[in-house]
């Protein structure tokens, strides 16, 4: 054994990674802001490479794509609202460390229920009855879709990530089946605009503005979720269960009950997003793409905002702004609209990556003195 050599080369690694105690909140937000900025630069460069657009113009076009006229501006508000609604829904589960990847399915379940109400009650019931039934059934449908995995999680500890993921595609194929059942006109493969003539079940235009009611509902919901999480006994229980099931047991919380209850609420909120997507649309319809992958994006928004309802407003607005802006650029250059997804992906990579620098620090070792504190 070459002990002499080892003595000389007794080396510890140059640096090691340690968990930070806690970073001051403003420093953490500076890091996040820097990550977003960096991501914007990178996506700007990507767009420039693809389109030959002057990098500064990229952002100009993006702003134009969101604010140049009333229609696109209201689209920005509507899409942000629905994404926010969805994010609020999954956040309830995430707070409990229940990885609800089923937002997409829960939204679709809500869409199905809302559309069913509109289709089957369209000719017979007064408008407000249809709207209220759509609202209630869509939330129930979302709750059902979220509740099933929760029951098995609580009872058998069934992996919720995979279960909720699979539930998404059950919902998508269910929509496809119903699409055939409800198709209009026949053999078009589409449901078409529901109640086009009577506009039965459509959410009313407040002050002549199509999406105002959607925006208001979600704004109220945002406050509600904040209050529920921060000020209610249920929210407190969610927090304790998420932080430590051991503590929850110690103070006598029924963990199974909290898991199921919270997922019912989480699913119901996502179901509400489905209601907004169908009844709140300017041309209500339902199809496998009605949720448009927002159930997944919502998870990312919730994560970006560190589960804070108000930060989520900004995060979802940012994502929708980028997506609409990229689509506008893509359209202008005759390119595919999924440019938006590329940009979203890049932003997310940076935000996901930057958390490392908030949670961990890199400590360098001195040659002799040991670890630097």
């Amino acid at each position: 054994m070459a002990t002499e050599k080892k003595t000389a080369a007794h080396h510890e690694p140059l640096f090691h990674i340690a968990k930070r105690d806690q970073m001051v909140w403003w420093k953490a937000w500076i890091i996040r802001a820097a990550a977003i900025l960096l991501a914007l630069v990178v996506s700007g460069v990507i767009i420039t490479l693809l389109t030959g657009l002057n990098p500064l113009n990229v952002y100009g076009e993006m702003i134009k794509g969101n604010f140049s006229n009333n229609r696109v501006f209201w689209m920005l508000l509507q899409k942000t609202s629905v994404l926010l609604c969805n994010s609020l829904g999954v956040t309830l589960a995430f707070k409990m460390k229940f990885w609800n990847c089923g937002g997409e399915g829960q939204v679709l379940a809500g869409c199905i229920a809302a559309a069913a109400c509109m289709i089957y009650m369209g000719d017979s019931a007064p408008n407000w009855v249809i709207i209220v039934s759509s609202l209630i059934t869509s939330m129930l449908a979302g709750a059902l879709w979220g509740g099933i995995p929760a029951i098995f999680k609580a009872q058998y500890n069934t992996n919720e990530t995979l279960f909720t993921l699979m539930m998404n595609y059950v919902a998508i194929h269910l929509v496809k089946v119903l699409q055939v059942l409800w198709e209009n006109p026949k053999n078009s493969g589409n449901v078409g605009t529901i109640n086009r003539a009577s506009q039965a079940g459509w959410l009313p235009k407040l002050f002549g503005m199509q999406y105002l009611i959607t925006v208001l509902i979600v704004a109220a919901l945002c406050v509600l979720v904040y209050v529920y999480l921060k000020k209610s006994k249920h929210g407190y229980e969610i927090n304790v269960v998420g932080e430590s099931q051991n503590t929850a047991r110690y103070i006598g919380i029924n963990v199974k009950k909290v898991i199921i209850r919270t997922m019912l609420v989480s699913g119901a909120v996502c179901g509400l997003a489905g209601f907004l997507l169908v009844n709140g649309s300017s041309a209500p319809t339902v199809g496998p793409n009605t949720a448009g992958g927002q159930g997944f994006t919502a998870m990312l928004v919730a994560w970006m905002a560190k589960f804070s309802p108000f930060a989520m407003v900004l995060a979802s607005a940012l994502i929708i702004f980028l997506q609409q802006g990229s689509v506008a650029i893509a359209t202008k250059f005759g390119l595919h609209r999924s440019l938006a997804d590329i940009v979203t992906g890049v932003i997310l990579f940076f935000i996901i990556g930057c958390e490392f620098f908030i949670q961990y620090e890199i400590k360098f070792r001195h040659k002799k003195g040991g670890v630097q504190e």
């Binding site: 003595t7 007794h10 304790v240 932080e243 503590t247 047991r249 110690y250 103070i251």
Partner: protein, 521 residues
């Protein structure tokens, strides 16, 4: 055993290790020869495991040298330790549950040639035959008993060709029969020329197994004696030291009526091993009942059983309700049901941030853990807990930027003040505290002692689980000694000696039945 002349297989000279301001080991000198079993004896926290981890490459000593076969060795990783033919069997097994014994044994080895489990199985069988292990190499770990898992760990080390074996409290998880089997194997390995170090705090095991005993106390190396030339009394004295006078105020209990009666409770853990064995005792109002014992002897399960967190196999926990005058049985009730009975039971658990408090929540929210259900409606009422938090911060001198600071950012002493403060604020009739001063500095410790004494004077039945015998003797009125899930004795803290308690602690199951009257006082 030609110990004087031969070069030791492993020798430690002046080894010290510090963690921050805590001295884990200071100037330890040890040696073990080939064909010898050395016991390392010491109480909890005396630095035994830290010392062994330095030989196994987990830690690196701050000072001192380690010599293997007379040559200085630098051991910076477990891999280095393997290369020096050192193998350590940790208390917590490092095994992959879904793998078979053979797969675990060859894991991480870079043997030359084709990967061939059947030849590995043959080698395992050879080792088994040589030392008398009984194990099926194809058996999966998750189907094994604790003792079988331990066997796999030992074979793993032997398979790697270790000549120096370190076992960290190997008998803590074994039944007496399994212990005897293990000892027979260890003796066979000694006769085969291996050097063996075994960490333990069970005196009779030390005496029956080892050739020499090294004693550590609070990180200090006390000395090494030949087993043949020593006895239990001498070892106990070396282990616990002279009684230190602590200036803890102790009042005489007044009208000490029985408050909590524990009758013959039995409890098994998930693996089906008995962790509480026919435990009975009485806790009286207005006195502090100490519970002494080696860590992991069933203290946690006992307190959790009383608090309604642990399922019992049999037995009763009776609460003498001062309001109704009735006896309520707490067994099979959940913590909430216990509360609903009007039982004011406070519990300071051992795991402060994993159970008693939520580290990421601030002090105010942690105050609410017990009381958040209070009040009508769906909303939380933060006014009361906020006042309480400020009250506790002021009264107990909790050092914190504010009441809205997450508790995990507080120092250990302040975390404990918050927890104890909350539990006391519920004006309990029974207060259970598990290791409430562990890791605390002197001043914080005294704050806690005073709080417990205050409660006692108010007529609360206080149960104090401790590890420092000096503290137990100075603070408590009676001390219950627990060993391997059995009550091995109850002593009067005013007259008992450390040696007496030390001996009771190191007794095991088998002896306790013959040894004296466990429930008498």
């Amino acid at each position: 055993m030609n110990q004087q002349t031969a070069i030791p297989a492993i020798e430690l000279k002046g080894v010290s290790k510090r963690f921050g301001s805590v001295i884990a080991n200071s100037n330890v000198n040890l040696s073990v020869h080939k064909g010898e079993i050395l016991s390392i004896l010491g109480e909890n926290g005396s630095g035994k495991t830290t010392l062994m981890n330095m030989i196994a490459g987990i830690y690196f000593p701050d000072e001192g040298e380690i010599f293997i076969d007379g040559e200085e060795a630098i051991i910076t990783s477990p891999k280095d330790a393997f290369d020096y033919k050192i193998g350590m069997i940790h208390q917590h097994f490092k095994l992959v549950d879904v793998f078979s014994a053979a797969e675990n044994i060859v894991l991480g080895l870079d043997e030359k040639g084709k990967y061939d489990l059947s030849s590995a199985q043959k080698r395992v069988a050879d080792i088994c035959e040589r030392y008398g292990f009984e194990i099926d190499p194809k058996k999966k770990i998750y189907t094994m008993s604790v003792s079988e898992k331990q066997t796999v760990e030992i074979i793993k080390v032997l398979y790697r060709g270790a000549d120096i074996l370190i076992l960290d409290e190997p008998t803590a998880v074994l039944t007496p029969q399994e212990t005897q089997k293990l000892f027979a194997i260890l003796r066979r390995m000694r006769d085969d020329g291996k050097a063996i170090i075994i960490i333990t705090h069970k005196l009779h095991e030390v005496l029956s197994l080892s050739d020499r005993v090294a004693v550590l106390r609070k990180g200090e190396y006390i000395g090494t004696v030949n087993t043949a030339e020593t006895n239990e009394a001498q070892l106990t004295e070396m282990m616990v030291g002279k009684t230190v006078e602590l200036n803890i105020h102790r009042s005489e209990p007044r009208d000490a009526v029985p408050r909590l009666e524990v009758h013959h409770i039995n409890c098994s853990n998930r693996e089906g091993v008995k962790v509480l064995n026919d435990v009975s005792f009485v806790a009286k109002a207005g006195e502090i009942l100490g519970i002494a014992g080696i860590a992991g002897s069933g203290q946690r399960e006992l307190l959790e059983a009383i608090a309604g967190l642990q399922k019992l196999d049999s037995g009763a926990v009776l609460y003498n309700n001062p309001q109704t005058g009735k006896m309520d049985n707490l067994v099979t009730k959940t913590p909430l049901q216990i509360r609903d009975l009007g039982v004011r039971l406070s519990f300071v658990p051992e795991d402060r941030l994993g159970m008693g408090l939520v580290g990421n929540m601030d002090i105010v929210d942690n105050m609410m853990l017990r009381s958040y259900r209070k009040g009508k409606g769906v909303f939380l009422h933060r006014k009361e807990p906020k006042d309480l938090a400020e009250h506790i911060i002021e009264d107990l001198e909790v050092v914190t930027p504010s009441a809205s600071t997450p508790v995990r950012r507080l120092s250990g002493g302040n975390v404990q003040k918050v927890l104890v403060g909350r539990e006391i604020a519920a004006s309990p009739t029974v207060l259970m505290a598990a290791y409430p001063v562990r890791g605390l500095d002197i001043n914080s410790s005294y704050t806690i002692y005073n709080l417990l004494n205050e409660q006692k004077d108010k007529g609360v039945a206080v149960i104090f689980v401790g590890e420092d015998l000096d503290v137990l003797l100075a603070l408590c009125d009676r001390i219950l000694v627990i060993g391997s899930g059995c009550i091995t004795g109850v002593v009067d803290a005013r007259t008992a000696t450390k040696e007496q308690i030390g001996l009771l602690m190191t007794k095991t199951n088998a002896e306790s039945t013959e040894g004296g009257t466990p429930h008498g006082n």
